[in-house]
Every structure is written in C-alpha cells, then in structure tokens.
Amino acid sequence: MIETYNILSPDFERDAPRELMLLSIISQSFFQPFSLEDNLLVILTALTSGSGVGFNRAMLFLKQGDRLKGEMWLGPRSAEEAGLIWEVLSTPGIGYVEILEHNRALVSKNQETLSGRLKGLVYAADEEGALIPAYAACRKEILLVREAASEPLVDRRFLNVIGVDEFLCIPLLARDDIVGEIILDNAITRTPITPADIKLAGLCGLMAGNYIYSTTLHRKLLDMEKMAAMGEMAMFVTHQLRNPIVAVGGFTDQLLKPDIPEDKKRRNLTIIRDEVRRLENIIYQMGHFLKVSLKEPVYFDPGPAIAAVLSSPEILTKSEGYVLNAKLEPCLPEILCDPTSFSEVIRNLLDNAFDATPAGGTVSVRGYRKNRSGFVLSVRDTGRGITNPDKDQLFRPFFTTKENGMGLGLTFTKRVMDTCGGKVEVQSRAGKGSLFKLIFLCREKELTT
C-alpha cells in the first residue's frame, strides 16, 4: 500500500510544536513566487510572530560588496502596536501570504518605520576590530549580548538605534561566506532570551543564509543566460542583416556599371527593394521581441480567440492548398493565459505547421480537456517533422530551420506557457509530421445571469 502526501502543504495541528510551525512557514515560502526580499521578510516574520520563535523584533543586515548594510527591521514600535500586530499574526489559519501582506507595510521605506531608522547603519563586513553587530558576522558566531550599554564591543550608534540592553546576533552564512546578519530582541515584553530561542533562531539563520546564497547563485545564472542569449542574438542579427546588405551593395554596384541592360536594371532594383523590405522586417521583429513584455494571465474563453485566428486573413492565405481542420470540444472551459499572447502563440504554431508541410498536407487543431484542471490545445501537421538534434534546440532563441525565420516564435510560445503555469509538449517524427500540445490550467466557465 502506498500513501501520498503533498510536499508543499504539511498541515500541522494548531497545537503542533512551534518549531515545526516555524520551519513549515519558512520552507513553504521558498516555493512561492516571492522575491528574495519578501522571503527574507517571511523569515523575519516567523522569528517574531506568535506561532514562531516569538522574539519581539527582528532586524536584518545584508552583505553588499564588503559591507553589511541595514535593510529591514520588523516589529512593533510600542506595546499598543505590538498587541495589534500579534493579534493578527496569531489568527488561526493565517498563512504566510497573509502574513507577508500584513508585514510589508511595517517594513515600508517610510522613515517613520523601524526600517527607516536602520537604513543608515553600514559596517565593514570583515574588518579586524569590528564592533557589534558586525563583530558577530566577522567571527561567524552567534552572540547573545546582555547589558549592552556597558559592553565596550557594542557600537554606540547601533545601541542608540536598537535601544535595548539584551539582543541576539545571528550571522547568516552561505557555505563559508557571510551573507548577512539578523538581530533579535524582546524590546516590548522585556522577556529574557532563552537557550531554546537561540537554537531555533540559529536554525532559521542557517536557512536564511542558504536561501540568500541559492537565490544569489540563481540570479547570477540568469544573468549569465541573458548574456549568452545576448551574444547569440548579436551573432544572429549580424548574419540576418549582413546577407541583405551584401545583396543590396552587390546589385547596386552592378547598376553603377555603364553596360547594364534595361531588363537587368529593373531586376536589380526589384531585388534591392525586396532586400530592403526584408531588412525592415528584421528590425521590426527584433524590436517587437525585445520590447514585448507579457501581461498577467487571466481566465478567459479560448473559443472566440481560436476562431478569430483560424479565420484571420493571414491564416486563410497560408492555408490555401492545405487541408486545415479544427475540432474543439463543446463547452470549452476557461483557460489561464494572457488572451493577446494566446492568439499570437496559436498563430505561431499554425505558421510553423504550414511552413513545415508541403502543399496538399493536413494541419489539424484540436481543443480538449485533459483532466479537471488541464486543457489541451494541439496543432498537428503532416510535414517534414523535426530531427532529434533539432528537437533539443526548438525553444532556444534564434534557432530556426526556416530560410527566413528569426527563431523567436517557439521561444515566445515557451515564455507565454511558463508565465501562465502551462506546458508545451512536442512529438515529432522526421518525415511524418509534428504535434505541438499546449497544456493550460483551466476552470469551468463562470455562469452569468
């Protein structure tokens, strides 16, 4: 017998140990499409919420270059505010999404918030003789500071800002590097920090450090991918522009020769005009690709959009000499996608299908429900198919097997499907044809009265 459990929603009982609740909130937040800043805010929240460790306030320093910079400070400014916040945070059933929304306001850039007061604090991150709080990061050790006012290692400016005598410094480590530091205190309740609090806060610090590290690596990787794509784009554009430029230059040179007959003159001018139009089209398409930003996906009825594409003049012209058939199941559900991008994606797939298929071939469009939450829109052709090496590169920007293609259509398709939480699947056999399946999230159509 096999039992299955959802990885992302471990529902703990309300009386579950606070450590489990805390780790659950933090680890689940990493799987949400939150920014680094928002996820760090979730960690600070967990450290200060009723269901978390239960510190009153949490302050975050992040390492930027060789400096530790005060970034966020979460917590109430007074006992009254504390009562209000903790009431919200301890509401049964409240999740990290609600907590996040609630706490964003508390760490806004408004100078009146705690975060505003923290912004001016910057320390060298690896300096000999550093003062607390940077001292903890430099030594890579958790520090519990008591009687801070009489401790010479505490920076006076920091002490003025934090305004308490007892606080905990948790350095955030990623492998062996410092990526930040969290400072925790109980400024409102004045309860002493316990060894159990320190252990749990230390564990949160490890998670936060590793999260910052992996996010930074991921960002670097994305930057590298972008750079590589830019390089590839530059190479592709050079080629795309150079060929028509050579044709324009070469045929113009011929025109300038004295012995050119009238019919050849006319032919050359026609070629030059066509090549200039091609250049114009390349520039237009590049501009379109570079500026296109995808809109938020919404649920909509795909039926009218598919019908509009199928009956558009360009598809009708392209389908001349082919068999084009479309079969959509009755009562289509609503699918999740940006409607404009959806139409463009269908147009792209149909374009590719006709381009890959010899005249007389068949292009079929199908729309059907895969299961309760999935809707498939497929485009099948009886064309030349895709070879295995080409299959691996299909969605790479600027990869094309067409003579005058830009190699951006399927890249765009993949981007659209990723944005709306959908998928693209490709089945193809060289010489037999291809099948492209777009799988969208869907829901039943809302009834209107």
Partner: protein
C-alpha cells in the same frame, strides 16, 4: 578552358549575385542552394574550386567541407560566411580561405584568383 567553380549559397539573391559576378570574371560557375545538391554536382563535375556558405538549412557548410575532404582532398575551398565567429571553429581551418561576406566582392575575387593561381 574556363575554370570551374562550385558555389554553395542558400540565399537566392546572393547566389545569383555571386554567380553573375564570378562568371563576369571568366569562371564557369555552378551555383546551388544547399549542400546535398553540391555533393551531387561534385560527383559529376571536376570543379577547380568551391565557395561555400556555412549556415544553411539541412547540411551546413562545415559538414559539407568534411564530406568533400573525404571525396577530394586536393580541391581548394573558400568559406564565404556572414559570421566572423566561425573563424574560431577549428573545423573551418580545413578550408583554404575564410571570407566574411561583404557588399564589395573584391576580397572573395582576390582569394579565388590566388587559390587558382590566376
């Protein structure tokens, strides 16, 4: 007798341009738009020189060169490409010359003359 050049170029307008310009220089030019046809031509005609593009649909110029080397090692090959970067691909080093496409065909014509000893 005119020297025979096999020209492989997938861009139809460029194919026409090169064919006309090299014919004007006194060569017998066979212009084809893909590598498969080029290989078929090589089987029937004894060309003195080959000019080929690299990025072409189907078999690309580098694959074509590799196959030509297996058939006839002695035939001079000129790569005529819009890409500067392929010069760094060692597979292109098998060619006798590498010309980056330009609106002026002077460099291509000069290389052809040099390789044919004209």
């Amino acid at each position: 007798m005119k020297k025979k050049i096999l020209l492989v170029e997938d861009e139809k307008a460029l194919c026409l341009l090169y064919e006309e310009e090299l014919s004007r220089e006194g060569y017998a030019v066979t212009a084809v738009t893909n590598a498969e046809v080029a290989l078929a031509e090589l089987g029937t005609t004894a060309f003195d020189l080959i000019v080929t593009d690299i990025r072409m649909p189907g078999k690309n110029g580098i694959e074509l060169i590799t196959q030509i080397m297996g058939l006839r090692k002695d035939i001079p090959i000129i790569i005529n490409s819009a890409y500067q970067s392929y010069k760094e691909d060692f597979m292109t080093w098998a060619a006798d010359a590498y010309v980056v496409k330009s609106a002026s065909l002077d460099e291509l014509k000069t290389k052809i003359k040099q390789l044919l000893g004209d």
